[in-house]
Amino acid sequence: MKNNCNIIAIGGSAGSLEVLLKILPNLKTTLKFAVVIVLHRKKTSDTTLLDLLNSRTDLPVREVEDKDIITAGTIFIAPPDYHLLAESNNTFSLDYSEKINYSRPSIDPTFETIADVYKKNALAILLSGANADGVNGLKAIKNNGGVVIVQNPETAEVPYMPEQAILNVDVNYVLNVDQIIEFINGL
């Protein structure tokens, strides 16, 4: 990546949790950027997902609360039943508006607002999934000069989402999970 990376946004749906559970333990703990994860998830108030991700990494994992500051070296998770948006003053805000692509959180608004704020310093990764959420978001990241990575559909448990991305967006890289880890650690 030619530009400094200030933020990595990762989106996924069906079959993406397993991928994250492979990626997180292998990330170096000296990341100079924030990691934001949006997973399609059930609307529950329990902390299972947070606990699970926390157990796989030494990096701090936090489910976002409104107006949390976007901090380097922290992994942020979109909370259930809210859209997660990036604000230009380096904070998150939450949004309880209509579902997008049948989902709340939806990947698109997070990617789109990150594209808007971080422009060429944003990197977005779209993983396994069964609908086309995230595709418009990737377009926005790309159009604003950021870098776009898609999980190799052949390695995805549910290839539809990465396939849609490859069909509709001029993606920079199509990578296997090992290569994604290598790429992030090389930033």
Binding site: E65, D66, L85, A86, L94, S97, P109, D116
Partner: protein
Amino acid sequence: MIDEEELNIIVTDVFDLYGYDFNLYSKASLKRRLNRLFIMDKFPSFAEFRHKINSDPHYLNRFVEEITVNVTEMFRDPSFYKVLKNEILPSLGTHPFIRIWHAGCSTGEEVYSMAILLKEAGLLQKSLIYATDLNPSVLVKARGGIFPLSQMQLYSENYIATGGANDFSSYYTANYDRAIFNADLREKMIFSTHNLVSDASFNEFHLILCRNVLIYFDQELQEKVFKLFDSSLGKLAYLCLGSKETIRFSKIENNYVQHGKEKIWRKIK
């Protein structure tokens, strides 16, 4: 797409012409709402969008209704309502009279939820629920107490998850695709427009609920609203926010203690 500059132009127009102040709303969300409306109503250009807003007061009603988020449900976050029912209402019940304010009540689903809890606790008769929103058209719906029948299964599940022991369907009458809530629930509700951005405190309350409203405000405006709530709460009164909202960035924090894990704070000084 509407960019930041155009957003600021619209915000300034709407304030100058109509007095609605969206200046301190969270920009990311506001921009999405504006773009959504712009696309939904098929404006060919920003200039035409702006002209419509500036020249048609009827369209302004639609603008306000669509720019603000009016997605809500009954007994949203059952764990919150369970604590409200089991731990907060008994404490409120010791007062001879209970004043409650739902700030930003939207179409009223949470107001009816509260009325059901109060009724079941035997407290509704000595309560008054003030339900306010900046948007007059959602208040018309709230006052009507008619919600889509298709939602009742979810609401019933939420109600049961709060520990509700009655038959949820006894609280409404089904009529075609609508559920008409019983009129006795409405007897102690007072609906009124109130804009958290510009209007002052109008009473002192034992409980204020403002859930998933502050997420649309930036921190400066949140602070202003927290001060408004603080000045509207008596000592030992409660403030309830949405499940991902917090007072920890606010100066009023020191006067409050959080009630367990839920987003409920009690004013201690």
